[in-house]
């Protein structure tokens, strides 16, 4: 229906442009852009203006067309328009409020469009006038806060959020948007939280609210004290945090669902075999890109919540049976007045909808599972810039999670088992895993699977070094936790050791040494990988699930000894030369000491065993036997600091990444908001018929 309406609107607009007769509102705009005070002749000018349907296009283009000198001339009128817009927000007449909101939108956008190069102060001056700016913005923010928190209509609230989004994204670089300084002073944080804490408002405005929050948090993040950061970091109200989690969960779920639909579509098609071979070629079509972009904002929100707020971690594991329902019904549940906490009837949510549609095939999910699935999709293909960013952000989020004790606790909780269907890249050499047979395991297994999957599938010329480093570090952090808490996870570690993963990665680094060295410090990655092995070798007794697994570790190392030998030769060579990698390479040589000790200890033993028994090719069992019986004569060197790691910190390392990311999100949100705002015309019509 909205489509039709929109079309109708378009038609009307085009037809009106043909006619010489101008809309009344356009005439009024013209008056504003004239020198005179429009209210001079018509004292009810402003009243009337906000009764007119806004013509955003005209107003914006008018603002854009004003050139330097004219600005000076009409500044008073624009200030006046701004002032009256703010005042109109307090009107009882909803039409006026809607029109005022849209006019403000146009004002912000038009002025910025025109003055891309102008300083923030000029823009403020032009919109509000220096002397009154503070008061005007205070009024504006208070009114918006009032509208958002009050019981005004949902579409009004939605429009308020759109206006805020519009304001936040008018500049490419959010930190250059000086007007936001006032948004910092007059915080709407509480309003955002309130939207998120309420079930019905969350359903309708949650997405915008979360995106807005994510953007506001990134305003001059590194330069000044951003009150939104401070406030977000101390929120501990569970319903609110939960609400935020739900919004993220829903957005990611929706993405996963779309992806799956598309995938099924492709597979069902004629070229199913072909596509599975070519892999993700089709994934990057236009639609997909768009949805990835929109999700960057959500992902950023998730990151900020996880990174800034310790309490949010609990939300990750919070399962929400109700949102497994594919199409989220936005039936506004009647908001029951909350009684004081002590007497709140438990499980309001649960009791309110006892007739939850229960699909027995649905797995209970939680934000973390959904996120892992999402990450598995995004990480499949990192060629595209947006996907690369998303993948990076996913890994950063996982890094934060892996560092958090509480998150680790529930990741490893033996009582919380889940089947997580990660998406795996279709590859020539392997069949697609049958989804149904995935066992129910603690969540950390899914994280490890995801890491292994990434390591296996991204050894390519355009090597995503940064992502690999993060991957290996995440694994390392998880191992540190397991070692510390003596958690013996039943995980097939072999998958990680060899199984085309870690050892294969070393092999890849070796064989592409020259090409990779041109761009990356491969020694750092090699060091991390070798140290993972060192973790297992030195501390395996504290976290390996069976004694057999320790034998298998040795077996894998001995079996793949050539890779380690070659690596040692390479790093030794580099470290003896003088060059920029000298030191980095020498670290790897030191790290390899135990691996080499193992190889040098067992290889002769195995050879002599073969010789004595006249066997040319030893079976795995035989090798394991040799390993088992020769432990006692092997001495290892205790390496320092294996179980210690550098904690994640955003600044300064990641600052550039986030700046770029926020810029890209800003552009994207701006684009989408403008679309949406136009469709608010439809909404407006709704209003006019109702009221």
């Amino acid at each position: 229906m909205s489509q039709v309406e929109k079309k109708a609107g378009l038609l009307r607009r085009t037809s009106s442009s043909k006619k010489p007769l101008k809309e009344k509102v356009v005439l009024m705009y013209d008056e504003i852009f004239a020198k005179e005070d429009p209210a001079k002749n018509n004292p009810r000018f402003w009243d009337e203006l906000f009764l007119m349907k806004v013509n955003l296009e005209y107003l914006e283009s008018k603002l854009e067309s004003v050139d330097g000198e004219e600005v000076q001339r009409i500044q008073d009128n624009i200030n006046s328009l701004f002032h009256h817009c703010v005042q109109a927000l307090g009107e009882e007449h909803q039409i006026k409020v809607v029109n005022a909101l849209q006019t403000l939108c146009a004002l912000f956008r038009g002025v910025h469009q025109k003055n891309k190069s102008a300083s923030g102060f000029d823009i403020i001056n032009m919109l509000m006038g220096f002397d009154k700016a503070e008061q005007r913005m205070k009024d504006l923010m208070e009114r918006l806060d009032g509208l958002l928190c009050g019981d005004s209509s949902e579409s009004l609230k939605s429009l308020c959020l759109k206006l805020l989004l519009c304001l936040v994204t008018v500049t490419d670089n959010i930190s250059q948007n000086t007007i936001l300084e006032y948004v910092m002073i007059n915080s709407i944080f509480e309003a955002i939280l309130q939207i998120l804490s309420d079930v019905s408002s969350r359903g309708q405005h949650g997405y915008d609210a979360v995106v807005l929050l994510a953007l506001l948090v990134n305003y001059r993040k590194y330069e000044s004290v951003n009150p939104y950061i401070v406030k977000l970091s101390i929120v501990d109200d569970e319903p609110t945090l939960d609400g935020m989690g739900m919004v993220v969960h829903q957005a990611l779920t929706e993405y996963n669902r779309q992806y799956k639909d598309k995938e099924e579509e492709n597979q069902g098609g004629f070229f199913s075999t072909l596509t599975s071979m070519v892999g993700s070629m089709f994934i990057a079509d236009v639609d997909e890109k768009l949805s990835v972009q929109t999700n960057e904002a959500i992902l950023l929100a998730l990151y900020e919540a996880v990174h800034l707020n310790r309490n949010f971690i609990t939300v990750l594991a919070q399962s929400h049976p109700e949102i497994d329902i594919p199409v989220t019904p936005t039936t506004p549940t009647p908001t029951t007045p909350t009684t004081p906490l002590g007497t709140t009837p438990p499980s309001l949510d649960m009791m309110n909808n006892p007739e939850l549609p229960l699909d027995p095939n649905l797995q209970t999910s939680n934000l973390l599972i959904t996120f892992l699935k999402y990450a598995s999709i995004v990480m499949q293909d990192t060629k595209d810039e947006h996907r690369l960013n998303s993948a990076r952000l996913c890994l950063i989020i996982l890094t934060c999670i892996a560092e958090d004790q509480y998150a680790d606790a529930f990741l490893h909780d033996d009582n919380m088992n889940f089947r997580v269907n990660l998406h795996r890249m279709p590859m020539r050499h392997r069949k697609k895993a049958v989804d149904k047979n995935i066992p129910s395991r603690p969540l950390v297994c899914a994280v490890l699977d995801l890491m292994v999957e990434f390591i296996v599938t991204h050894m390519m010329k355009d090597f995503p070094m940064d992502l690999y480093l993060r991957c290996v570090q995440i694994i390392h952090k998880l191992l540190c936790y397991q070692k510390k808490c003596r958690i013996r996870l039943h995980y097939t570690w072999r998958e990680l050791w060899s199984g085309k993963a870690l050892i294969n990665l070393l092999k890849f680094l070796l064989s592409n040494e020259t090409t990779l060295l041109a761009k990356h410090n491969i020694f750092h990655l090699a060091l991390l990988v070798v140290n993972l092995f060192n973790m297992f070798i030195t501390y395996g007794d504290t976290f390996l699930p069976t004694s057999n697994s320790y034998d298998e570790l040795y077996y894998e190392i001995v079996r793949m000894h050539q890779v380690f030998d070659n690596l040692y030769c390479m790093v030794l060579r580099v470290s003896t030369n003088t060059g920029q990698w000298k030191e980095a390479a020498s670290k790897v040589t030191h790290a390899l000491v135990n691996v080499r000790a193992i190889i040098n200890h067992f290889n002769p033993k195995i050879e002599s065993y073969a010789a004595v028994n006249h066997i040319s090719q030893l079976s795995e069992e035989q090798v394991l036997e040799v390993v088992r019986s020769n432990y006692d004569t092997l001495t290892l060197k205790l390496q320092d600091g294996l179980d210690q790691f550098e904690r994640y910190s955003e600044q300064p390392k990641e600052a550039a990444f986030f700046k770029e990311l926020v810029r890209s999100i800003s552009l994207n949100v701006r684009k989408n908001v403008s679309l949406n705002t136009l469709s608010q015309d439809v909404l407006l019509k709704e209003f006019s018929t109702i009221s």
Partner: protein
């Protein structure tokens, strides 16, 4: 009928009125709106506090003398002790002022000679016509004797057709300790529902009185009334007394009417007589003498407004301490006063809590697989956690507490074919009184983690010593000291966690690059063999646990020793550091009728106390049952116990071998004591099974605890009912050859001991047969329960006590029973049948 009440009441006007001031004194101080809203009704203050609900049923005629005596007694006591307790405003026709008769029966003696003059002459004269002095007098003696206990009272209440006697006993109930009466609550309420009005009227004042005093008693009554009314025809049920009383209780009209006296009479002394009163009434003395029902209304209304305004205040504060707690603080100044300005609706939080637990059970039942059920359960409980702490508690617990958290990941779905019973663990904080103590403040889930990192280290299942040794270092021969100091660094996190507590995750911030720093130091060597050895040792060291099986999630959870579990959950809980932290567990059953379970519990409990009294070392474990309705309830789980089915399936051993594995060789003390426990419990339950005709005895219904006791659970088929009427299980009780093997074979001493215990147990039970029969008999009234099917239930039960047999004959009987059970093919058949149909081994 109202007039009838007055003459008797009139002698004690001061006592009647005295509660009123103290009523008003109950602090609504924290509620600013209360005084004003209480203003107007004062004008219409009736002189007496009589609740209207009682008047409609005042139709009984009471033996004057008995009534009078009772009345005098009470009056006397009041005078003597100056104890002023809750006055039950709800008087029955005789206007018996039911003051708490406290607990000393000796007092009653003193009043024996009091020949009370009848004040209301006309009525008493009329009553006297029905008076039967000769019979009554020695009954009275019995009633007034020390020996007269609750059990007898209940029995006379049930058997006597004499309204006077019934009314007397109704009054006498007040003088028994609460716990004693509580045991018979199902009987009392069932009589109230299903017997004639006289009995009902005799019981009601007591029930109402207790309801006023206690929220938990109120709810208990409401639940039981609902459950035991359910067998009535729907049309009569709606208007039945039971339903009415239930509604009355749930309407929350039965609020405490006076200062809380019951718990600690001493503190009350200053408040007792009307005149002496003053201190407590404070600024609100104004509402002196308000009709309680009116007052209640006012109060609840104002509470509502307060709560609304509070909640709006709450909205925006990120973290808020309990609203209630502030109110509690206000009231704490006047300790002994009833505190009724707490939650606006007394019963609501608890009812909601129970309701949501039931809701979870219902939704779980719709899911097909255990795995889904488990996941769903965990997620639902985690949501439930958001509403905690609250003024809610587990009724199965033995102490007052507030529920603060449900460790949701620990919950398990139990094995059941089509229902979804589940077991949850509940963290509670013990408190003085759950009605008045303030609700604990919420602590966010992860708050604990940062502060806990120090303590959580030793919990890795190793002692400090082991840990120190976990790094057996092969020191470099040149420099010993140096080597050790390096080792310290390696162990830093484990040994000296304090150093790192500032970094919030206890993982220090050194980068991996610090390896290079080692170059300057002497290297430390470790033996690969040691690592490997430690690994296998530690794996072997771990206590025998069951393997996780998604189809049987409860096995692992139940196998874990309770102490272990408590310690583990405590460590993971943000409330764990509080000294009054306790862990409870409960099984939530939804869709199951637990009334038979409750009956069985009562019988077991009775037999247990009989055996204790007679000093027979039979061992049984009655587990608490909470009946919530005719098809839902809760069960107190038996801790440290797994079913024989799970034992066999997980261990793949015979029972004897399992005993050997768990407790050691046959000659060890551990084994012998486990064996003794096994025998004593077997004897106890064999008798129980025989007496109650407990059926459906497959291995899933028999638990084995960590000490070797067996514990029978699931009393769904007792007395006259048996499963599917397949005619299986004809033997008296379950005694498989495996059981006998554990006892040391059919010729062993322990087996003889077993039989001897049974004989002693039966003789003891026979001696007190009436105490057992009575429980069952009263519950039969108006019941459609399958265990009462047919007409011979009681006769059969009575016969199984074999009153007529000599002890020699009894011994023979026991031998026969044991023999028959051992040789019984049907037991084996039944186990096979269960294996085929339900997969129970």
């Amino acid at each position: 009928m109202m007039e009838e009440a007055e003459p008797d009441v009139s002698p004690i006007p001061s006592d009647q009125n005295s509660p009123s001031p103290s009523v008003s004194s109950s602090p609504s101080l924290s509620l600013p709106s209360t005084p004003s809203s209480c203003g107007p009704p004062q004008a219409a203050t009736p002189p007496l506090c009589v609740i209207s609900e009682g008047t409609s049923e005042l139709s009984l005629v009471i033996d004057a003398e008995v009534a009078q005596r009772a009345c005098q007694e009470v009056l006397q006591k009041v005078k003597l002790r100056q104890v002023e307790g809750d006055v039950t405003h709800l008087q029955n026709g005789a206007g018996l002022e039911a003051e708490p008769a406290a607990d000393k029966p000796s007092k009653i003696r003193e009043e024996d000679d009091h020949d009370a003059p009848a004040p209301g002459s006309v009525k008493s004269a009329r009553r006297r016509q029905r008076h039967n002095p000769s019979k009554q007098s020695w009954l009275l003696r019995l009633f007034e004797s020390k020996l007269f206990d609750v059990s007898m009272a209940i029995s006379y209440l049930h058997n006597s057709k004499e309204p006077g006697v019934q009314a007397y006993i109704g009054n006498r109930l007040f003088s028994f300790p609460h716990e004693d009466v509580d045991f018979y609550l199902p009987q009392l309420l069932n009589m109230y529902i299903h017997m004639d009005e006289d009995v009902g009227d005799a019981i009601k004042p007591y029930v109402v009185h207790r309801c006023r005093q206690s929220i938990s008693f109120s709810l208990q009554c409401a639940w039981l009334l609902g459950a035991y009314s359910s067998d009535m025809h729907i049309s009569t049920q709606r208007h039945s007394r039971g339903t009415k009383l239930r509604k009355l209780i749930l309407s929350d009209e039965l609020k405490p009417a006076g200062p809380r006296a019951r718990r600690d009479p001493l503190t009350l002394t200053p408040f007792c007589p009307a005149a002496a009163h003053g201190g407590g009434s404070g600024p609100l003395g104004g509402d002196h003498g308000l009709s309680p029902s009116k007052r209640t209304h006012q109060r609840s209304k104002s509470d509502a407004t307060v709560s609304i305004s509070l909640s709006s205040n709450l909205k925006r504060t990120a973290s808020n301490p309990k609203v209630e707690s502030s109110q509690d603080e206000d009231s704490s100044s006047s300790d002994s006063l009833e505190f009724d300005s707490g939650p606006p609706v007394r019963l609501a939080p608890q009812r909601e809590f129970i309701k949501s637990l039931m809701g979870i059970g219902k939704r779980l039942a719709t899911l097909p697989t255990k795995e889904q059920k488990t996941q769903r359960l965990i997620s639902e409980l985690s949501l439930l956690n958001h509403k905690l702490p609250a003024r809610v508690w587990l009724p199965t617990a033995a102490f007052d507490h507030h529920v603060v958290r449900v460790p949701h990941t620990q919950a398990v779905v139990l094995n059941s074919k089509d229902k979804a019973p589940y077991l949850i663990y509940v963290e509670v904080l013990e408190c003085e009184n759950f009605e008045t103590s303030s609700v604990p403040i919420r602590i966010p889930e992860n708050r604990i983690r940062s502060t806990r990192s120090v303590e959580n280290l030793p919990d890795c299942g190793m002692t400090a010593e082991q840990r120190a040794g976990s790094f057996s270092v092969v020191p470099n021969y040149d420099n010993d000291d140096e080597a050790w100091s390096v080792d310290d660094i390696g162990e830093l996190q484990v040994e000296l966690p304090e150093v790192h507590t500032n970094s919030c995750d206890n993982i220090s911030q050194f980068s991996v690059d610090s390896i290079t720093s080692l170059e300057s130091k002497e290297p430390v060597f470790i033996a690969a063999g040691d690592i490997r050895r430690r690994l296998s040792e530690q794996l072997a060291q771990a206590p025998t646990t069951f393997k996780r099986d998604p189809e049987d999630p409860s096995a692992v959870a139940l196998k874990e020793p309770w102490e272990e579990k408590v310690r583990r959950i405590r460590e993971g809980s943000p409330y764990g550091h509080l000294p009054n932290w306790r862990l409870l567990s409960v099984i939530v059953k939804c869709g199951d009728d637990l009334r038979q379970e409750l009956l069985a519990f009562q019988v077991l409990q009775q037999l247990k106390s009989i055996w204790e009294q007679e000093r027979v070392p039979l061992w049984i474990k009655p587990y608490k049952i909470l009946v919530l309705s005719a098809d839902s309830g809760m069960i107190e789980p038996v801790v440290n116990a797994v079913s024989l089915h799970q034992v066999k399936k997980q261990s793949q051993l015979s029972l004897l071998d399992y005993f050997l594995q768990e407790h050691g060789a046959p000659t060890t003390e551990a084994f012998l004591s486990a064996q003794r426990n096994f025998v004593q419990s077997c004897a106890g339950y064999s008798l129980i099974c025989y007496l109650l005709q407990v059926k459906d005895r497959h291995n899933g219904n028999i638990l084995l605890d960590a000490d070797g006791h067996i514990i029978h659970i699931d009393f769904g088929f007792i007395l006259s009912s048996s499963p599917k009427n397949l005619g299986f299980e004809t033997s008296a009780f379950k005694l498989t050859s495996e059981f006998v093997d554990v006892m040391g074979g059919p010729d062993g001493d322990m087996f003889n001991y077993y039989k001897m215990l049974m004989l002693q147990g039966l003789i003891a039970a026979r001696k007190h047969m009436d105490r057992v029969l009575q429980i069952v008999e009263i519950m039969q009234q108006g019941s459609q329960l399958p265990c009462f099917h047919g007409s011979s239930t009681m006769r059969g039960l009575k016969e199984r006590f074999h009153m007529s047999l000599t002890e020699e004959q009894l011994q023979l009987l026991i031998d026969q029973l044991v023999d028959g059970s051992m040789r019984s093919l049907t037991t084996k058949l039944y186990d096979g049948f269960q294996y085929l149909t339900n997969g129970i081994m």
